[in-house]
Symmetry: D2
Subunit: 338 residues, 4 copies
């Protein structure tokens, strides 16, 4: 059964699957010293320029590794109240690093320098945890996308105040597809210091990559990566998936498709009685308020999650494998229930 | 190229690979609430009896999850000086839990109650970390295997003194194949409280399982598992591999073969001039001292690791995919170099 | 120079000082196994009933010890946005335990069950940190005091939902003096599970006590206490101060006086032009908005801290050694500046 | 009753007590921004040259602060198997920092570069924790004292291999008194990077000082100090004790006396039947094997601790307040029991 529940419900894209098959050769050196990993590293360099790459199993692993490279226990990570690192990782960054998270209210999931400014008063006061990282999600947990100008403003602000910028890119491909620029232009060129590059939600069997651009953050990274149990002995099986993802712009093709399906879905339900598109549809998510009575019967046909139990806002995620037929079928089911 | 370097150099067994292919269906519920995970759980119950199963990406992740379920920060884990958790995980258990490791000297990698007794004097003294877990590896990092009687003696001793037993079973299949009993008889029936069940070194693309037998340790386990970033969104792709592993005794077939290759290797090199089998060959590892001058040229043909740089003891690991031809070819190469 | 800056600016009350002198005898057993500690323990039992007492050096040490006894790393501590554990301890509880803090908005520094209810939805969801402790300050950081009914309601709510109640009693004496009941009636009888009993801000040279009422929390407490470096070798020198504090109600005499000075101060400035008492004066703190121009010159005569840089709300703390003359002198200085 | 149990059984030296009395003035700024702290800081500068001073409550607090300034969680602290940080702090450094301790065997409690060399092979291997600090105790837990040449050799070795040297100076005064050089010559001039300067065991009511010589370690120190709950609000009461300690060489007078008492004690018991001085008496401790039958009756008159339950080695500590009469009386009691 297909669903609009999450882009992590989907399976493995055929080109990714072939890559795994290809890497299932005889013996390879373990822990990333193999040729498949070297190949993937080169493709990352082609896409981003000079970068240190560490492969991780999942997004939490990538985010924790990133934040650990940036933060000491008395320091704090500024994030949105909706940030995955705050809301969905069972306290992993805090527990693993000992640092604090400083969540900020934001209507659209995006941070701005103005929001962060009041925290600058903490700097130098030993009674307060010290803001050290601004962590943003791109696209955000609310399906919105920072513009290039917004990213640059945040990075400039961070650097001017002794902070790093971490980008949680579980859905970076969807964001970049939406922005219509290169990966590099949307990340390191804006000033991002370190990022989690998502694979699992964009057609991989599994795998994320920690990408370190800032030289200061590279030295200790391999030890943190190992210590939080994210160094994979048979790393070729993750690296090879990224090779496929970065070949012939597969990442872009998949993300563009998922975004288009979200646009189609939003267009088709727009104006239906009692249906309200509740947030800007920038990437592959549609946040929508629908009448309470249709939620259960619609969900019985196509699973999805309720975002807010009070307002009955629903989150509909499109995936690389969502088809036009499924979107149309979903909308048809909704129409009939309304 | 094939090697005798490590059982994690190998690839994916064809039956495992097919299982991944089978699970690459359309959409499945994430985070282990899917049907593939349920299927694997049932096979674990069939093999071990009542058990809580948590799937992890790698062995360090499994070990840390296990130890976290057993230990508070002022407590300590008793282990051998060769234990993977001490020697090869970059301090992951210590960092993640805050606990201490208490390593003990042991000639063959195996602990005994006698060795642990002197630590009992710490109990109740607030100035000392408190022994809480005995962690053993089966088979050990030295290729030896605890007998059933030895396991029972350790578990009884642990329980009589308020301690748990954790079994690091990265190579449990090799050990059980060597013991010639059932999985259950070799673990939970001996009194093991919690274990890491290895897959990666026995033909899986990746994956280990935390198996919790002791009811006291089950309550908090899912949170620890999530918090150390080992909960996989597309968990079906790990679970399905265990389904294949536990079907038609694939685990036993593979482990038995690897063990037989180690026996063959040991037999063939035994008695060669300057060659000394240095430890009991109980499972799939051969520890051997060879003349210094042949090490590099032999390694150039078949990679392997030096275990001890001073004594020039080498570790030769056999894998599920090691063939008789490779063993014979390796021995032939050695003979020619001698 | 005297001040209205903080009750930790003050020195040692003469009766406390005499107690230190008395304990400066020849040799005593270290780490709390001495007769002075036994004597203080008895007085605590007399005041609170059955209780386990651990002496700490400071309030942060006491709070961290308390929270560590209640919390595992995946659990969370619910607190007010103004809580000392959140705002003034440089992240100590989070770093030391690995747990998260869940701050709640509150106008008067006091939590209510209604505020906490929305967090109950997290329980059982492995992606969320799990609420485990409600931590309250009595009196609060805003100088307000929970009523007995409010305390009972919070404790009942906590226990009904599987949570503990921690009371940060850095100023518990001021609160109890304000409530006009016994120490026991205001704490353990309301259902408080564990508390930090403050001494430093009420006439001690130094020292706080962790008081554990809930049997479940007692077992591991001595190890946590030692491990966070709060076990004092010459413990008699802290214990003896508490003996003096708990003798002839010295704690009550001092706290009552400090509270009276705050009442006097509030009464005297009330109605002055441009002066606004901004919060309920329940204990020994007066929060007041005064014209910006008088702040600096007034502070030059009597130091105090600005609470809110935007609203120019000031915090004036009275201490056990604040005199009526000082209050009158301070008000006179303010009048002249207005 | 006087004892030979520990130098932390003793009370407060009269000159120290007077200093506390002097600091019990009206109000002072809290958290170390007061004049008493400034005065003590100046005396430390006079003694050691340029130094950052952080005052702590106890030795564990000082050691943890020091090590936290030097170490990330994947790094390790090399120490002797007898080190206080390993044996007597309930795992505090490990828990607080997440780092590992690497204990080394040593007959006399002293480390040498030769012992540490085998650990250099770990450097750069992500599977191993990385040696980052050499932590030594001066005088050692066995009552021995490193010579200046030994200290210099260790510091040179550490720096040549990218490591820092931490000195646990709970009894540094006794060591320096034994060496007959200046404090500075025995510490920073040898290359020590950071140290815990002991007060509690040398006549203070309480208090240790973290002394940071290496500029690299100064930046984060105040935050670590605060976060592990060692920043004292009424810091003047600790600082003033150090002012007394550093005035007119009180530290040296007390330590010299304690050392002399140990020498006297060793001389008097030397040669008694069945009595064997078991270690070099360099400072204020005498380690001695005595007949088992006299242990309990002797201890009933003068408490002391058994160091080794198997060999019946006893530890007799002399303190600043140990008198010649007590030593003679103790020896007399022993003679009579023999």
């Amino acid at each position: 059964m297909k669903s609009f529940a999450s882009d992590n419900y989907s399976g493995i894209h055929p080109e990714i699957f072939k890559a795994i098959q290809r890497a299932n050769n005889l013996h390879e050196i373990s822990y990333g010293d193999d040729t498949f990993t070297a190949e993937a590293n080169q493709l990352f360099e082609k896409e981003f320029g000079k970068v240190t790459v560490l492969y991780t199993f999942n997004g939490t692993g990538a985010n924790v590794t990133c934040l650990k490279c940036c933060t000491l226990p008395f320091q704090a990570v500024v994030c949105s109240e909706f940030a995955h690192i705050l809301a969905d990782e069972c306290g992993a960054p805090t527990q693993s690093i000992g640092c604090s998270l400083l969540p900020l209210k934001t209507a659209d999931g995006k941070l701005t320098p103005e929001m962060i400014k009041p925290l600058l008063g903490r700097i130098g006061n030993v009674h307060n945890t010290q803001p050290r990282v601004i962590s943003i999600s791109q696209s955000t947990e609310l399906g919105t996308v920072y513009s290039i100008a917004e990213l640059k403003a945040l990075c400039d602000f961070a650097h001017a105040n002794g902070m790093y910028v971490h980008l949680d890119g579980a859905r970076i491909s969807n964001a970049v597809a939406a922005l219509g620029v290169s990966m590099k232009a949307a990340t390191v060129d804006c000033g991002v210091d370190i990022m989690s590059f998502g694979g699992t939600k964009n057609g991989l069997m599994m795998g994320e990559a920690v990408l370190i651009f800032n030289e200061e953050l590279k030295t200790n990274a391999p030890y943190f990566h190992k210590q939080i149990a994210q160094l994979f002995s048979k790393n070729r099986f993750i690296a090879t998936q990224f090779t496929a993802l970065l070949t012939d712009n597969l990442w872009l093709r998949m993300a563009t498709h998922a975004n288009q399906m979200a646009q189609l879905l939003a267009k088709e339900v727009n104006g239906l009685p009692g249906v309200k598109i509740n947030r800007s549809v920038d990437a592959n998510a549609v946040f929508v308020i629908i009448p309470e009575k249709v939620i259960q019967p619609l969900r019985a046909q196509y699973p999805f999650y309720e975002w807010d139990a009070e307002t009955h806002e629903q989150r509909w995620m499109c995936s690389f494998d969502t088809t036009e037929e499924e979107v149309i079928g979903f909308v048809k089911a909704l129409r009939e229930l309304l």
